[in-house]
């Protein structure tokens, strides 16, 4: 291969001149621009500048995170594809492989919640089916401000219907997710969508362009002016006037076209007529084209006038940077273009040859035969400068973490009122309002729907299943990033073992503020290190993820939120454990122990509006033992239910087990004696605890299995009939309520807020 060099390209008529200002508008620093000039050996054209700007944005270039991401463990014998492709892939047994990945659409959702969320789902589905896998499940991880303003309710409502409408229409069941409401997300909602896809090992296909002369084809929807520069936009802070100025960047999703594209793509891959396929996602044709060329070590040449467009008069710059949805770039095998066209035609979609693979290592763009961009592909995709910055913890947060919480620990005696308040907080309350808008049962494979600890999808034709969950408590990460990130990984793993799944691998979404600020970079680095430690300890390597930085409005950053999307494998679907109690008379056993930290708890937020204190510590060895113990109990079939203790503490977890999905509630009679203040016993969010229930003749086995793994375990009470009510006594305090009252608090909290007529208090 000859060393690629950029040929001189005359400026295109009508394009702006390259000035320092134009460069700055493209989000490139003076140093970065200098690097561009070095690579090019000349001044870039306007089109070329646009291409660099997109590829070197944080979103595509990972310039502030790449060095940190290298610290993460990525290997294990079961990892088939690690980071770097459209999605990670792991072996799940019997010849099946699972592709999975998470992606953010935070900025677009802040501007237009419905379309922002919908196109977020669309993008992650494409990342999965371009690997050759059929999408089988979606999860959504969401964060909003408190629900007491009309704006936040509008964002929340819009995002949920956007996630729902898109996935429902394509026909992919939603199997879980999470949502947290906290003023820390007021101006910047977080919308992360995760997708799982199944395939046989031999169906795996990767996104690279190789084969000199192979035709490049654009398939699917036409290219319009939507979302031009979305990648750069996603890498900037929002400001007061973002609503106005970001309008042209709104992308509209078309889930119907996506469904056709999904079927057509899987058929294309099966036909053997193509050698590569990639979503035109962030930065559109630019990133899909240059990444395919970069990965394949080849080059590509594309003629812009051959790209099917939706609007008249689009310039090469616009075509290259458009983020119109539901499009794919395909490398056909030479001579098989017609086969590609026929498959697309059957699905009532278009396919057009727009260029070819070359062997000169250049990313070359033509307009009516005239070269308008000619860039060495490898430096474009790999040459983006990466930074390691200084990270310093903010004094303010140190002060919050070390705040004296004593006055909040005083309450004792009858704590029922606080308990009902907590149970009715949207953070703890039932999320049915959300997932009843999502099709959860389409494709007839959903063995555990949203509402449990993890969603479970069975693998047809086998006894196996895959499970998935997303988790992160941003408050914990805010107060102590390393611990908080470990807690996120640990909670995800606990959620998996609760259904009986072996935690296998993770994908992650790093949602942070502006990394150019030292205290944000500190959070990012510490969180990555926490994730590294926990993933190492649990043998759950990282197979991919997404980075969303600059989540700030008017200088105020979100809580650092490294969302963990973890997947696990179940060998025998008949052994799946569910979170809800099954029989009155069963014993309730608490595994793990309360370590007493109270910082970042929902109780403090609900009763005092505080996000402060030391968040719960994470004992990685203890967590690992707990996971193994619960899996063993699951295999031995001694459990009737298992549920992780998280937001709202033990009392809330007991209520969740008692209420289930509301159809067949139980009562609870629990008494435990810990040397802790009653609010900590009842509402503390100590990590490493799982509530299980077992029929009394199995309790001994549960306790002895726990002992074998050195996991603290104690019988704390029994499941009763619903009529007997809900009663939990701890040293110095208690809660007692009728099942109807806890049910009311838990199930109606979100509907009461959201189903009121729009704008009623605005």
């Amino acid at each position: 291969m000859i060393k690629p060099t950029a040929a001189p390209v005359p400026p295109r008529k009508g394009d702006p001149e390259i000035t320092a200002e134009v460069v700055a508008d493209h989000g490139l620093s003076p140093d970065e621009y200098e690097r561009v000039q070095q690579i090019m050996g000349r001044t870039p054209t306007y089109t070329e500048l646009g291409v660099f700007s997109a590829m070197w944005s944080e979103h595509c270039g990972y310039k502030n995170s790449k060095r940190l991401l290298r610290l993460l463990p990525t290997k294990a014998p079961w990892v088939i594809q690690g980071p770097g492709e459209n999605a990670g892939v792991i072996d799940v047994g019997e010849g099946f492989a699972l592709a999975f990945k998470i992606e953010s659409h935070n900025h677009p959702s802040a501007v237009e919640p419905y379309q922002g969320a919908a196109t977020g789902v669309g993008g992650i589905l494409r990342d999965i089916f371009t690997m050759g896998a059929r999408p089988v499940a979606v999860l959504d991880s969401l964060r909003f401000g408190d629900l007491d303003t009309g704006r936040v309710r509008y964002l929340f409502g819009g995002v949920v219907s956007g996630v729902g409408d898109y996935g429902n229409c394509v026909g992919i069941p939603n199997i879980g997710g999470e949502v947290q409401f906290d003023r820390g997300y007021e101006g910047n909602p977080i919308v992360n969508a995760m997708c799982l896809g199944l395939m046989k090992h031999e169906d795996l296909i990767t996104a690279s362009a190789s084969g000199d002369g192979s035709p490049l084809m654009a398939v699917g929807a036409r290219t319009g002016r939507d979302g031009i520069h979305g990648a750069t936009f996603a890498s900037e802070e929002l400001s007061e006037d973002s609503d106005e100025s970001s309008r042209p960047q709104v992308q509209v999703g078309d889930p119907f076209t996506e469904k056709l594209l999904l079927e057509a793509s899987l058929e294309l891959i099966a036909s053997g007529a193509i050698s590569g396929i990639q979503d035109m996602g962030a930065a559109g044709i630019t990133s899909s084209g240059s990444e395919m060329a970069g990965r394949g070590g080849s080059g590509i040449e594309m003629e812009m006038t051959d790209v099917p467009i939706r609007e008249e008069g689009m310039t090469p710059y616009e075509i290259l940077l458009s983020e119109s949805q539901e499009r794919m770039l395909v490398v056909a095998k030479p001579g098989r273009e017609d086969e590609v066209r026929q498959i697309l035609e059957k699905w009532e979609l278009e396919a057009a040859v727009i260029g070819r693979v070359t062997n000169d290592g250049m990313f070359r763009v033509l307009e009516e035969g005239q070269v308008v961009a000619d860039i060495p592909a490898l430096p474009l995709t790999e040459g983006c400068p990466t930074y390691e910055r200084e990270g310093i913890e903010s004094e303010e947060i140190v002060a919050l973490r070390t705040m004296d919480l004593t006055e909040h620990l005083i309450p004792e005696g009858d704590l029922t009122k606080s308990f009902l308040l907590l149970l009715g907080s949207p953070n703890v309350a039932s999320k049915q309002w959300i997932y009843h808008q999502y099709d959860t049962t389409v494709r007839t494979a959903t063995a555990v729907r949203p509402g449990g600890d993890s969603g479970v999808i069975r693998i047809r034709g086998t006894r196996r299943a895959v499970a998935a969950t997303t988790d992160c408590n941003g408050r914990f990460v805010y107060l102590e990033p390393r611990t908080g990130a470990m807690a996120a990984v640990a909670e995800a793993a606990r959620n998996l073992v609760c259904v009986g799944a072996l935690p296998t691998a993770i994908t992650n979404n790093l949602n942070f503020g502006n990394p150019l600020k030292a205290h944000i970079y500190y959070q990012l680095r510490e969180a990555v290190l926490g994730m590294r430690d926990a993933c190492g300890a649990f043998e759950t390597p990282v197979t991919g993820g997404n980075v969303s930085l600059f989540n700030e409005t008017d200088g105020k950053a979100i809580y650092p939120t490294p969302v963990i999307g973890m997947v696990g494998v179940i060998d025998d679907v008949s052994k799946i454990t569910r979170h809800a109690f099954q029989n009155a008379g069963d014993d309730i056993v608490l595994l793990g122990s309360n370590t007493g930290e109270f910082g970042g708890s929902e109780y403090l937020y609900v009763t005092a509006g505080l996000v402060a204190g030391q968040p719960p510590s994470v004992d990685l060895d203890g967590e690992r033992a707990l996971q193994q113990a619960v899996l063993k109990m699951n295999h031995e079939e001694v459990l009737n239910s298992a549920h992780d203790c998280s937001e709202g503490g033990l009392a809330s977890a007991l209520a969740e087990c008692a209420l289930g999905d509301g159809d067949a509630p139980f009562g609870v009679d629990v008494e435990l004696d810990e040397d802790l203040r009653p609010v900590i016993s009842l509402f503390g969010e100590s990590q490493g605890r799982i509530l299980v229930s077992a029929s009394p003749d199995k309790t001994e086995q549960v306790l002895s299995l726990a002992a074998r793994y050195e996991v603290p375990a104690m019988k704390i009470g029994t499941v009763t009939d619903a009529d007997a009510g809900f009663s939990v006594k701890v040293r110095g305090g208690s809660v007692a309520a009728s099942t109807a009252d806890i049910s009311e608090a838990y199930f109606t909290a979100i509907p009461k807020i959201m189903d009121a007529p729009a704008g009623s208090e605005a």
Partner: protein, 90 residues
């Protein structure tokens, strides 16, 4: 042949329920517009098409409504001419 733009309005039949209209009505009331007594939500569909004459265009649009754009069980429709589009004709 000229290019025309037509506007088709498809409305829910009087008497039939219109959940969207009801919800909007409710919201408007709670936003303080108390004088609103009814809201009906239909569709406005803009059709750009070639035809020999404005009448031919209108007729075609009505045929489209009967065949596809409106549901005779639940909806009424109206068609009007927005105007001739520029740069057309062949």
């Amino acid at each position: 042949m000229s290019q025309y733009r037509l506007e088709v309005r498809v409305k829910p039949r009087p008497g039939l329920l219109d959940p969207q209209g009801k919800a909007i009505h409710h919201s408007l009331n709670s936003l303080g517009w108390e004088g609103v007594s009814d809201i009906r939500v239909g569709k406005a569909i803009y059709v750009d098409m070639e035809a020999d004459s404005p009448d031919a265009a209108l007729e075609a649009a009505e045929a489209m409504c009967r065949k596809l754009l409106a549901n005779p069980v639940t909806e009424d429709f109206e068609v009007s001419m927005v105007g001739e589009l520029e740069g057309a004709g062949s």
